[in-house]
């Protein structure tokens, strides 16, 4: 399941719900991306998305992950709107029989979400607002999946 929300969310509640009642899942990998304060330089993060389109694009990438890794289930929650320092931006959880598939799929989905998913990110700090482009590291991370 893929959700966008403009409300703060608790990653632990999502993880508990995701783990509950699994008798044949050996492994749940999860990732929480948090807004860094960067010592006051990044006061407010704002994320724009295209509701409907954004979830559908992410769903396509989840389908790719499912064909590539032996996954039982995936949960993605992504914040949109204004996000304060220390607040969760994204939660991704993957369930599999064994941990290698769970870890790799979670990593794969995060690389996509952080660099190519349909979001537009604006940081407002002491020097004003700027729209963020993907970091070179994000593109390097993503390229790892193309050689496998």
């Amino acid at each position: 399941m893929i959700s966008l929300t403009d409300q703060a969310f608790d990653p632990g509640t999502l993880l508990s719900n995701f783990c509950r009642g699994r008798t044949e899942t050996g492994a749940v990998a999860s990732f929480v991306g948090l807004a860094r304060a960067e010592g006051g330089a990044a006061a407010v993060l704002e994320l724009d998305a295209y509701p409907g389109f954004t979830e559908a694009q992410i769903a396509q990438h989840v389908a790719t992950a499912q064909s590539r890794f032996e996954l039982q289930d995936v949960r993605i929650v992504h914040r949109i709107g204004a996000i304060g320092p220390g607040e969760p931006i994204v939660f991704v959880a993957t369930a599999a029989s064994h941990r290698r598939a769970a870890f790799e799929a979670c990593d794969f989905l995060m690389d996509y979400l952080k660099s190519r998913a349909p979001f537009w990110k604006k940081e407002t700090g002491p020097d004003g607002a700027r729209w963020i482009e993907p970091r070179p590291q994000d593109l390097t991370d993503l390229a790892r999946w193309e050689t496998r």
Binding site: D48, A49, Y50, R79, I89, R116, F119, K121, W131, I132
Partner: protein, 79 residues
């Protein structure tokens, strides 16, 4: 007629996010938006700006109906 959506830096530049405009193609829409706001018209031609019609990316000029939703998507940053 089409519902036109702008995202990210394009929306900041234009000062609006959503507008209904009487047009019958993407090419026509680009002309009308450029006539209204030259800076926006230029920005829409910028590198990496994609166009979606009814939530699907289109590569070429496309006919629009009154029910069409057209979105201009600047380069995506990820979340």
């Amino acid at each position: 007629m089409a519902k036109v959506l702008l995202f990210g830096a394009l929306s900041d530049l234009a000062g609006w996010r959503e507008k209904t405009i009487e047009v019958d193609s993407i090419a026509d829409l680009r002309l009308k938006l450029g006539a209204e706001d030259a800076a926006l018209g230029e920005a829409l031609k910028g590198p990496g700006v994609q166009v979606a019609v009814d939530q699907a990316i289109v590569r070429h000029d496309t006919a629009l109906t009154a029910a069409s939703e057209v979105a201009f998507l600047p380069p995506m940053s990820g979340g």
